[in-house]
Structures are given as C-alpha cells and as structure tokens.
C-alpha cells in the first residue's frame, strides 16, 4: 500500500475512493494521510467517514459529492467545520445528486464529454452548481440536464478478491466501482485476498474490473474497516456511531488520527490495536450454488 500510494497518488490530484457503504478503502485513505498528500480534490457520492478523515487531516482542497452525512447517525463534523468555518483548511465544494455523480463517472468511463439525464428541473441544484447545464435533444427537441465527465487522476477500488494482475471480482453492492475505475487515468486495486487466475476464470461473470486497467494491486485484509466486505466482515456500525463523538471536537479527532493512522505503520497494526474486532465482525458463511459454464 505504501508503495502504491507513493507511486500513484500525487499532491493536487483528483482522487476517487469509491464504494457505496460497501468496500470503502479506508486503508488507502490512511496511507494518503500518513504520506501527507495535500491539495487533493476528493470525489465520492457519499464522503462518509473516509473523507471526513482526509479533510480533518488537511489533505483536501476541494470536495465533489452528492450526500454528505454519517449514514444512519447524523453529520460529518470535520466536513461541516471545513465548510462552515474553514478549518483546518478551507474546503471548496461542488455538489450534485447521486444520479448526477453516477452520470459524471459514466461519461468519464465512456470518454464522452458529458452525460444527459432527466433530472434537476424544479430544483435549486443547477443554481448552486453552474456545471449542471442543459442540452436540447436533436431527436425530440426536449431539454435534458447534463453533467460533465469526471476523469479522476487516480481511483482506488476495494474488492473482495483479484488475481495478481488485478482482475477483480466483486459481489454484494457494486456502487459505482466499475464506472469509477474505467473513468480513471490510474487505478489502485486493493483486495481482501489474492487468488489464482484459475479462480477468476472459473467464474468470469463475477469479474467487474479487468486487470489491464489496473496500475497496482494491493492485498490488504480488513482494508475496508469500518466499512465492510460482503462474505468477509460486517460493517462496524458501532464505529460509525462512535465517530459522531470522536469527530465533534477537532482536538479529539486529531488525537484519534495520531493514534490510529499516524501511530501505526499499516493496516495489520491498525487492526491489532482493536483486540476482538476481527471476531466480532467476521461474516457468517452464506454460499450460493455455482452455475454451469460449460458448452
């Protein structure tokens, strides 16, 4: 992880760490914090705790997003401090709806300059964000909303498994992982486990991202905690609830970052700091029946 971030994430980059609730790569964000990256433009549908931490650590200059809360809990306090008070550094924002963000990444992945969508009429969002515009359909003459392509310098994807080339298989919620990976100039693939190519080839329909668009493959078990990996470990809902208290006060949040991010060399050491966590969150087995790929 250290090498991948050192090589592929640069100051001033447009960075996407995706995963909708599921498969959010906190391990990569922590490494970005440890390496003191700065002036990043960070984009995600839901900034979640992962960007609250990057913002608190002073790594971000700008946030592009569509829903900025702590899911099921409340506010993201570091993000709100940065927007409302400009601390620790002022944060510029660019705001869409979920559909708008999905469409931006779809356009980026398809190498189109924009994506048309039936959205935003009657909403104040286009007035708040001048990049949400309209186009007239050449066939029906109807007016459609448009959003510009998003092509990140680097996208970081967390997946359950991949082979050594980064041919990655994801099951459970996909979010916008595929679109975010194809839209990016560089892709870091982080996985719970590296498997033999034969495992991937035995079930090709489950492969979401091909290795030939991947620039680095990192094996990082528990790399998504406190997010989750279906079939590996559950979401740490208690952590999300506790974050409300930790992040409410900047001094306390900085103490947390010092201890759990800067105070550890890697993810394994981070997990070791919380004894019993692996046992508490480990997924129960629930296998599906395979299918016949023969001909």
């Amino acid at each position: 992880m250290k090498d991948a971030v050192a090589r592929l994430v640069r100051d001033g980059d447009v960075v996407v760490i995706e995963g909708f609730t599921h498969l959010i790569c906190f391990a990569a964000a922590h490494e970005i914090i440890r390496q003191r990256r700065k002036d990043l433009t960070i984009c995600r549908l839901t900034p979640d705790l992962v960007y609250d931490q990057l913002i608190a650590a002073g790594c971000a200059r700008k946030l592009v997003f569509s829903w900025a809360g702590n899911p099921g809990v409340g506010s993201l306090h570091a993000l709100r401090r940065a927007i409302e008070k400009g601390t620790p550094v002022p944060l510029e924002i660019e705001e869409y709806s979920h559909f708008g963000m999905v469409a931006r990444l779809s356009a980026g992945a398809a190498k189109l300059p924009f994506w048309p969508l039936s959205d935003y009429r009657g909403s104040d969002l286009p007035a708040a964000n001048p990049l949400i515009r309209t186009v007239r359909c050449p066939y029906t003459d109807e007016e459609l909303a448009t959003v510009p392509a998003l092509n990140p310098d680097v996208t970081i994807i967390h997946a359950q498994r991949a082979d050594a080339e980064g041919n990655a298989q994801i099951w459970g919620l996909y979010g916008v992982q595929k679109e975010a990976a194809f839209a990016a100039k560089r892709v870091i693939m982080v996985v719970e486990e590296i498997v033999e190519p034969s495992v991937v080839r035995a079930d090709p329909n489950r492969t979401l991202i091909p290795g030939f668009i991947v620039d680095a493959v990192v094996c990082e078990p528990w790399g998504a905690h406190p997010s989750y990996a279906q079939g590996y470990y559950d979401r740490d809902n208690d952590f999300y609830v506790a974050w409300d208290d930790v992040s409410r006060d900047d001094a306390r949040l900085q103490t947390w970052l010092n201890e759990f991010v800067d105070g550890v060399p890697d993810r394994a050491a981070y997990m070791d700091k919380m004894p019993g966590l692996r046992e508490r969150l480990k997924a129960k087995p629930r296998f599906c029946e395979g299918v016949n790929y023969g001909f």
């Binding site: 927007i83 559909f99 009657g122 708040a128 979401r235 809902n237």
Partner: protein, 244 residues
C-alpha cells in the same frame, strides 16, 4: 408516523426505500397488509428482505436473499428514470407550502447556517417516482411558507409547476407527520390537511405550519395504532429501538 406511512403502501408496490422511519414503515407494511412489496434501495439491492433493521441503506443484510443486486447506474437510469418505481420515500429538514423539500442547507447556499447532507437520490426520486411519500415531524421551522433551498421539487415553485416543467412523476402525494397527514390540493398543489391522529386537534396542526393551512371538508380521523402494529414495531422490527 411509521404505522401511518405503512398504510400508504399498496401490496405489490415497487418502493424506493430510504433509511430510518421509511425503512421501518416498509417492513411493517410487508409484515401486515403488503407482503408483496418490492423494496429497492439506491445502493443497488432489489427485492431486499433484510432480516435485521438496516442502519444504513448499504447494509449487507439488504443483499442476502435479495432478488437482484444492480449497479447504481442501473438503479438510477433504468429503475428510477425508466419509470419503474411506484413509490419513493423522502424526508427533509424543510417542506414548504407546495411540497418542495430541502435537505441541502438552512440559510443561504454560499454561507449556510446549517449544512445538511444534500440531495443523495432525493432530487431524482421527487422527479421520477409515480408518487412520493414524505415522512417528517410537523413544526413551524420545518414547514415554512417556502424552503431555503429546493433540493427536491414539489408541485410548484419559482421554476413553475410540475406540469410546466414536464416532470414525469407525481411528486409528494402524502406528507405523513407526527400529528396528521397533508396532501396536495388537486387544483394548485398547495398542501392541505386531510387527516389527523386521535390525540391531535386541527388547531394544533395549524399552529405547526408556516402558512394558513387549508383543511379538507371530509377530514379523516385516523384510528390509534393497534396493539399488534405496536408489537410488530417494538418487538420484532425495531427491537433495539434504533428508530422508535
């Protein structure tokens, strides 16, 4: 509120579910009068049958035993924009006279007094779902004459009416609050009181709304929740009292 919201759902409805009370209402409806409800979450779970109350709309329990898992691009383009969703549930910090919903900012956008989470999928749900059910406790602060920011369009506003804008969905059809239910007038889309709960009075409700509230002549009086409904909510669906 959860019991009333559940009753707004019809068996077989395809519902776009939000987190919190809507989620509880959908699961109550599924356990009572609407066993064939199809629950769709914007996270991608289609036909979800969660066996624990999900804390987030991306909970892993939504995937286990679901009918399908779709990418979010499919969810928004094919399911929602494609017109396949009958009911969308929305909440918000403010709901105004014409059902516009604000979940973005209190105060001016550039210098907000309170920064709220933002649209998420709310804007497009309000535009495309056949009917939208809003669940929000009533108070003068949350039901002003006009919202500070229209995240999700209601029936009329500074950009025009739904018809003028050509919005495909029906917009907020029922606003379920903690004292009664509001509904848009068929004439001009203004929200009117159509029903109240047993312990509420019309004057109470009027005092909690930021515009002169019209009351339907055939005002409904809703029965109190039954013992069975309360048992299901408290003991089965939300045993750890996450939402109630």
């Amino acid at each position: 509120m959860a019991v009333r919201a559940a009753k707004e759902l019809r068996d077989g409805d395809v519902v776009f579910v939000g987190i919190g009370l809507p989620n509880l209402a959908c699961n109550l409806a599924r356990a009572t009068h609407a066993p064939n409800l199809v629950l769709i979450y914007e996270s991608g779970a289609v036909g979800a049958v969660p066996d624990r109350l999900p804390v987030s709309i991306g909970d892993p329990a939504l995937v286990t035993d679901s009918l399908a898992v779709a990418s979010m691009a499919d969810i928004f383009q094919f399911y929602l924009q494609g017109g396949r969703i009958q009911v969308g549930f929305l909440g918000g910090a403010q709901v105004d006279r014409y059902g516009n919903i604000n979940s973005t900012v209190i105060g001016p956008y550039a210098k907000p007094k309170v920064r709220l989470p933002g649209s998420g999928g709310a804007c497009e749900i309000a535009i495309h779902a056949e009917r939208v059910i809003v669940v929000a406790p009533l108070s003068p602060r949350s039901f002003p004459e006009a919202v500070d920011f229209a995240t999700s369009p209601g029936h009329a506003g500074k950009y025009g009416t739904r018809k003028q804008l050509g919005l495909p969905g029906g917009g907020p059809q029922r606003i379920v609050t903690d004292v009664g239910v509001l509904e848009p007038s068929p004439d001009d889309g203004e929200l009117e009181l159509v029903g109240i709960y047993p312990n509420a009075t019309v004057d109470d409700v009027k005092a909690k709304v930021g515009w002169p509230l019209r009351v339907r002549a055939d005002l409904e009086k809703y029965p109190a929740p039954t013992a069975e409904e309360l048992r299901l909510l408290r003991d089965v669906l939300d045993p750890t009292h996450l939402y109630i």
